[in-house]
Symmetry: C2
Subunit: 357 residues, 2 copies
């Protein structure tokens, strides 16, 4: 057996020869053009399966402008949120007959721009971009330069160039203010963010602040935001608490990201404070462990599936020319999951559950 022949894939010409027709005819059959005699179509299909023919997407992509690929750029693939987002996006894309290529900008705006250019290189039909910072970053700029059709997701506000999709960070954070201030009457609250670059974080900050001042103009809100290294941030939290005059500590903390929640939780534990007795805690972005840990953590759950669906639908509507109007901003509502760390009453705690429930 010749190793060369063994792994040389069949071309469209091989199929044409086997079926006794021309390559053009094979191409027509394969892409569903109707002007082909039924008998010939039959023979082509037979030849295709006999030769195990697969169309070469590289060659196909060169001439054809029919691109059935969509690109997705996210800032990070380690976080469950983006992991779930790309998984859902890919599922939806395949269901609509598209392939998807995923890439991570690794929280780096220069890389974000480079990936946008790379998506253009691969001639994607459209691109989903989750920017590192916001809709005004270099990625969106590049997409515009190239005239690509795209949808901006998650770390964005309204934009006049692209459709945008995100969780309703503003309203969800306001509802956290409702819980902590309106219902529980906290007078001194710490807002903690492990990064301040993301537009999403800034929207959460604003949403909480505005509602808080409406509910109680006298509420004291401290903000601890930083882009520093992990250990520096840990130290900042301890130093913040040490600096508070005893008895004037914040009685509640709203952590603005999952990463932030973990950090705060870890430092609270280290300082020996009790949750929620000494300090209540609400986190933005839910995770599996938050309902299992003790005490369980009250958190804002983001509508990942809804975001993915909306984003892909919006993109395909643009790609397929069904929507050509002005850019639209989609805001998907979040859910506040009230658990023990803030708001859940004693009687709601889980108990020993016997055989009969």
């Amino acid at each position: 057996m010749q190793p060369d022949d063994k792994h040389r894939r069949a071309t469209i010409h091989d199929v044409a020869r086997a079926a006794g027709v021309s390559a053009a005819t094979v191409s027509k059959v394969l892409r569903g053009v109707k002007t082909v005699r039924a008998e010939n179509a039959e023979r082509v299909h037979k030849a295709v399966s006999e030769l195990d023919y697969r169309m070469d997407p590289v060659a196909s992509g060169l001439r054809g402008e029919q691109r059935r690929i969509i690109g997705a750029v996210v800032p990070d693939l380690e976080s469950p949120f983006f992991g779930k987002l790309v998984t859902e996006l890919e599922s939806l894309a395949e269901a609509a007959g598209y392939h998807m290529i995923v890439a991570s900008s690794r929280e780096n705006e220069a890389r974000e721009a480079d990936l946008a250019a790379r998506m253009n290189d691969w001639r994607v039909a459209g691109c989903i971009l989750v920017p590192v910072r916001s809709e005004r970053g270099p990625g969106a700029e590049k997409l515009l330069d190239f005239g690509m059709t795209a949808v901006l997701v998650d770390r964005v506000s309204a934009d006049e160039r692209f459709d945008t999709v995100s969780a309703d960070n503003h309203e969800a954070s306001a509802s956290v203010a409702d819980l902590l201030i309106g219902q529980q009457g906290h007078k001194h609250i710490l807002l903690h963010g492990a990064t301040r670059i993301s537009k999403a974080i800034r929207n959460r900050l604003a949403g909480f602040g505005e509602r808080a001042r409406t509910l109680d103009p006298g509420v004291v809100i401290d903000e601890l935001l930083s882009d520093e290294q992990l250990e520096t941030q840990r130290a900042a939290i301890r130093s913040y608490f040490d600096g508070q005059v005893d008895g004037h500590r914040p009685t509640a903390i709203f952590s603005l990201s999952q990463h932030s929640t973990l950090l705060v939780l870890s430092e609270i534990r280290r300082m020996g404070l009790k949750i929620p007795e000494d300090v209540a805690l609400v986190g933005f972005d839910d995770a599996d462990w938050m309902q299992t840990t003790w005490p369980s953590i009250t958190a804002v759950a983001q509508p990942v599936s809804a975001i993915a669906e909306r984003a892909l639908a919006a993109l395909l509507a643009r790609v397929e020319g069904e929507h050509t109007g002005f850019p639209v901003q989609y805001l998907e509502p979040c859910t506040l999951l009230v658990r023990q760390s803030a708001g859940q009453t004693e009687t709601e705690r889980p108990r020993r559950s016997g055989r009969s429930g």
Copy 2:
């Protein structure tokens, strides 16, 4: 301004014209062939930057056999383990001058095979495959059929066709047996797995079992393995504990995956059992929350970075022809992080840390 011209990208011929040389010369300059006069190379580079020229990878890939892309197929992009793995792989690949395309088989073997074929379509130089089940799955089969160079990662044992890289699941699980049986003297242990398909899980099972029987032939080991839905698995755990005669409960649990750990933890809590007093817990696969939760969870940390480095190095060695010998099995050592849920003594618990530590 003509919109057509605005977004039409410059071709190699445009560059050739602008530099006053032929397209062949431009191609040589761009791919670093030395047989070009320095002056011409200079003019080409100038023309490239003036025209913002980017090589078209689609056209380039058609003729050239020089593929600078490597493919990665993982079973899942939502788990932090694979998220981190692909992130590191991509980083390393780029550092070596390769691009990477990532895809998720979503724990589906048919999809795994399809993705392998798709990687072949895109003419990747090599492929990293994390199979859904094991090295004997349809993905590896396809890779072999196509004559692709590939490395199999994580859910694998030694293979006679491809290099394999994984955590040393067997030895790590044996060291868990050392801790629970050798040091702590547990006589009745439950092994829990939320799936039994994965080769990694089966290796963990075997590693624990063999060492356990060596240490104490009389030890009782129960196994609770299932591929059922979440709720079914929860019920199975409760039913298992209800079925045990009182006082003959297992005194320790070894959960074989992160998912499993979370599930077990959740049910232990619901049953009102205390950790580690009523039952000790060790989990395979560490997560950030495990050291923050209370009690903190003893876990086996996998060497993700080492696995990524080894896998990519092995693949590139094959791709670049530096290694042509028999397939090699690489086993990377894990680390057992002993925390409160098993093994950590009272005095090691974290305490209130003042200003001076």
